[in-house]
């Protein structure tokens, strides 16, 4: 029997490579040369990667979501008894820091410029239900999703990862002067994958549709609004002192509720033609859809990019939970 060196996936180029022999290593693939994070290498087997592609037009809240998600992930040790987290790259550390400072100042992040976004790599250990996973994603500018051909160099996970977060902001779609409609985003997604010869029938794709800025959607159904506002995880994570711990049963219950909410949101989005087309396009391509409603800030943004109070994100973990769930089943 020959000993085979363990293999791992480079988080930058997504190629499978031999696990390096020492901690300070770089991806050997020509053109990549990425500094492999030591933590990522060291805990690869125990905390395997979950790649998520972020997809959505400009101003739909992608960056704010990432900040809000980071905020929650930094506090989940209140809720999961075995949980710990480690940002694994400098950009991830910076995000954690900015979340803290911007949170205190009540300031939103600036618009994401174009260009390949930095790698966000967060090791998450001891998550109830899923154990350890390394969340790997890149923020990117929404301008790239304006065309039928999304440049893959800006959305590098799009082809090779089964799960994407598709951000939609119904409130912005109502006010848009560019003639955009919801189904166009799905068209761009499907067209990009087809142009790179993705076979939707061979391996099923999953899309988590994240309805953002839900707190300011005036006609959001009451039950969804209630769901949004009453986020137990945020309440617990934000509370001083002891809080209820989420065990396997409570996680299962939460996921079940997420499932019902997903159906509700899907039904609500299909109240107009664009929404119907959106859903049908996905089903026609065998794309597994899940829906979430979130508010990354918890309150409307006022003039001068300021929040009236600190951030109070609502249900921002839901899309992430969907991604974990879908990739665990795959």
């Amino acid at each position: 029997m020959f000993w085979r060196r363990p293999r791992l996936i480079c988080p930058n180029c997504l190629c499978e490579i031999n696990a390096p022999k020492h901690a300070a290593a770089r991806c050997p693939r020509l053109g990549c040369d990425f500094d492999l994070p030591p933590l990522y290498l060291d805990e690869y087997r125990q905390v395997p990667p979950v790649f998520v592609q972020i997809f959505g037009w400009s101003g739909t809240g992608k960056t704010v979501f990432l900040y809000a998600l980071t905020l929650l992930l930094a506090r989940m040790s209140k809720v999961w008894p075995q949980y710990s987290y480690s940002p694994s790259t400098t950009p991830t550390v910076r995000t954690v820091r900015e979340v803290t400072t911007d949170l205190e100042r009540g300031v939103l992040p600036q618009p994401t410029p174009l260009g390949l976004g930095e790698l966000y790599i967060m090791l998450l250990r001891g998550m109830e239900r899923w154990g350890g996973r390394t969340l790997i994603t890149r923020d990117c500018a929404g301008e790239y999703f304006d065309s039928l051909q999304v440049p893959l160099e800006q959305a590098p996970f799009l082809l090779n990862t089964p799960t994407a977060f598709m951000f939609v902001s119904p409130i912005d779609l109502r006010n848009n002067t560019e003639g955009r409609s919801l189904n166009m985003l799905m068209d761009n997604y499907i067209n990009t994958l087809l142009s790179h010869k993705v076979n939707f029938n061979k391996k099923r794709r999953s899309l988590v549709v994240v309805v953002t800025k839900a707190d300011i959607i005036p006609d959001l159904p009451a039950n969804l609004r209630q769901y949004l506002i009453h986020d137990p995880i945020w309440n617990w994570a934000n509370t001083q002192g002891r809080v209820p711990q989420m065990d396997a049963l409570s996680m299962a219950t939460y996921l079940e509720q997420m499932g019902r909410v997903s159906d509700e949101v899907e039904a609500w989005l299909q109240r107009d033609a664009a929404g119907q087309t959106f859903v049908r396009l996905a089903k026609h391509r065998n794309i597994d859809l899940r829906f979430s409603v979130i508010s990354s800030t918890g309150a409307p943004v006022e003039a001068g990019n300021q929040l009236p109070a600190q951030w109070e994100p609502r249900r921002v973990l839901d899309p992430f939970f969907w991604a974990l769930e879908l990739q665990s089943r795959a």
Binding site: L108, P113, G117, E118, G142, E143
Partner: protein
């Protein structure tokens, strides 16, 4: 005046967007920017995360088309109507100038000559006001270029030794980017800009084109090798060559040699050990000029030395590399005059008050055939009157002929043990009055008056021999030469007559033999010669005859 195409890039709302979409995009371009160029520029400038409202990013890079882009990006507060209806605070406005290589060359390939002086836009409303509604073309920018001197460059915390390391990295720019390596310049935006400005200033203009940079790549993954230097606030992994802009030092160990620029680097290094950084910055252009002249060579370059290089800097430079210059000097002259003569010539050059200039010029020109080299040889001959072998005189004579240096040709022909009379006379006839006067200073040590007889210079010669002693034999030869050139009538000149009066009988007889049938010779001269030939009884008889007739 320089002209450049323009490109402006920022975040726009659909109402102000040429594409009618929201987001970061190109806003205005000049008509002559090709789509490929625009795309290439966009890819370089599109990622910038200003940390604060006063932030600024500077870029310099070359397009595939060969044109050079100077990028200036500033943080601006998003205008809700124009830029971002969600009012998300800071965005950036990038204003790029696109120059032809020729234009960039007019700035000596120094991007800071423009980045530090051009009035880049810093407000989106100013842009709208200046260029017009969306869809308008950005006009060609025109800018009066002021002289960019050492006073515009600060050495900051950089000392001499570290400056030379920084320079060696700049000189290796092409090689480094080819190896996909970049400098990481760490510090505040001002410190980064100061360091790059200094590095570019230290770099000879011909090499500056390879020193591309982006002063702010924080949060923008930038492949190594895309720029020669990138700026970041702090250290970041990735195997960069690290430069501490705040501390003024090159952190990484680097090779401090740069093939092709060793002389310049060594000079700077030597100066760095004993001069203040500000002094080095001040002297750099002179040093670069001399290094360039030396590398390009050619006699046409030599003439610019005095205008372009300060005397004291030139002197220091030559003194610093004395051995090299002397080696080059000997290398130029040995094939022409031989080893020993070349050494003597070098000693002669060393004794000159302008020795540094001479050595520099010979080194630049690289040959013994330049006007300066020929002049030097001629001066040497005239002042030192060297003893050379005939073969060496012949080589010099040939050199004089090739270079049409008639003084040299004359002297070489005349001073050989076996003079080449026809060449001598031909060269003599071509001398100017000034040249003749100079050559005639060798009377009577090394040249005889007879060697200087020519129709063109007879008057000058006579004036000369009036002031120098002349032996009888020399006088005889002079008379013979005059007769040969049809100038026998000048035997009656007062300057010559007094010498004739001192001839002995044999000498007088020799002259008489040559001139007695020449009808241009005055009778008085013949009488003198006859009298000198037969002194005493004959003279008395001649006189008795004259008296009887009279």
């Amino acid at each position: 005046m320089i002209r450049a195409s323009q490109l402006l890039f920022t975040r726009l709302e659909p109402g102000y967007s040429p594409r009618r979409t929201a987001g970061y995009q190109t806003w205005y371009t000049s008509a002559d920017l090709a789509p490929g160029e625009t795309k290439e520029i966009e890819q370089r400038i599109q990622c910038y995360w200003p940390a604060g409202p006063a932030d600024r990013r500077l870029q310099c890079f070359t397009l595939a088309s060969g044109r050079v882009v100077l990028g200036h990006s500033v943080a601006v507060m998003a205008d809700e109507e124009i830029n971002d209806r969600q009012g998300r605070g800071l965005i950036f406005l990038a204003h790029c100038l696109v120059l032809s290589r020729k234009t960039f060359d007019e700035c000596e390939n120094n991007p800071f000559a423009i980045l530090d002086s051009f009035p880049f836009y810093t407000s989106v409303r100013d842009v709208l006001k200046a260029i017009g509604p969306v869809g308008s073309e950005a006009p060609q920018a025109e800018h009066v270029l002021r002289r960019y001197g050492g006073s515009m460059v600060s050495a900051g915390p950089w000392g001499g030794e570290e400056m030379t390391k920084l320079l060696s990295l700049a000189l290796q720019a092409r090689q480094l980017t080819g190896q996909r390596r970049s400098l990481l310049v760490m510090g505040s935006p001002d410190a980064i800009a100061m360091t790059l400005r200094l590095a570019i200033w230290l770099t000879p203009p011909g090499e500056r084109l390879y020193c591309s940079f982006d002063t702010a790549v924080d949060r923008c993954p930038t492949p190594q090798g895309q720029y020669w230097a990138v700026g970041l606030p702090a250290r970041q992994g990735g195997g960069y060559i690290e430069v501490d802009a705040e501390g003024g030092r090159v952190v990484s160990s680097v090779a401090t040699s740069a093939p092709g620029h060793d002389l310049y680097l060594r000079s700077l290094r030597a100066w760095a050990r004993r001069s203040q950084a500000a002094e080095i910055v001040d002297r750099v252009p002179d040093l670069q000029r001399m290094a360039l002249l030396l590398s390009e060579g050619g006699s046409t370059n030599v003439g610019t030395i005095d205008e372009e290089v300060r005397k004291e800097v030139r002197r220091e430079f030559v003194t610093l590399h004395r051995e090299l210059f002397e080696r080059k000097f000997l290398g130029a002259f040995e094939p022409v005059v031989g080893k020993e003569a070349a050494t003597q010539l070098l000693r002669h050059a060393d004794a000159s008050p302008d020795d540094d200039r001479i050595l520099l010029e010979i080194a630049i020109d690289g040959s013994a055939q330049s006007p300066r080299a020929v002049e030097l040889i001629t001066d040497w001959i005239l002042s030192d009157v060297p003893t050379l072998r005939d073969a060496e005189w012949r080589r010099l004579c040939d050199l004089g002929g090739r270079c049409r240096a008639w003084r040299l040709r004359y002297l070489s022909a005349a001073l050989a043990d076996k003079p080449d009379e026809s060449t001598r006379e031909e060269a003599l006839s071509r001398l100017t009055q000034t040249d003749f006067a100079r050559v005639a200073t060798l009377l009577p040590r090394r040249l005889a008056p007879a060697d200087l007889v020519s129709r063109q210079h007879i008057e000058a010669l006579l004036a000369r021999i009036d002031r120098v002693p002349m032996e009888g034999a020399a006088c005889v030869e002079l008379c013979k030469a005059l007769a040969r050139h049809g100038l026998a009538r000048y035997l009656d000149a007062p300057q010559l007559r007094r010498h004739l009066d001192t001839l002995d009988s044999r000498e007088a007889g020799q002259v008489l033999k040559v001139v007695e049938r020449d009808t241009s010779v005055p009778q008085a001269v013949l009488d003198v010669l006859q009298a000198r030939q037969q002194p005493g009884l004959v003279a008395r008889l001649i006189q008795w005859g004259k008296d009887a007739r009279g």
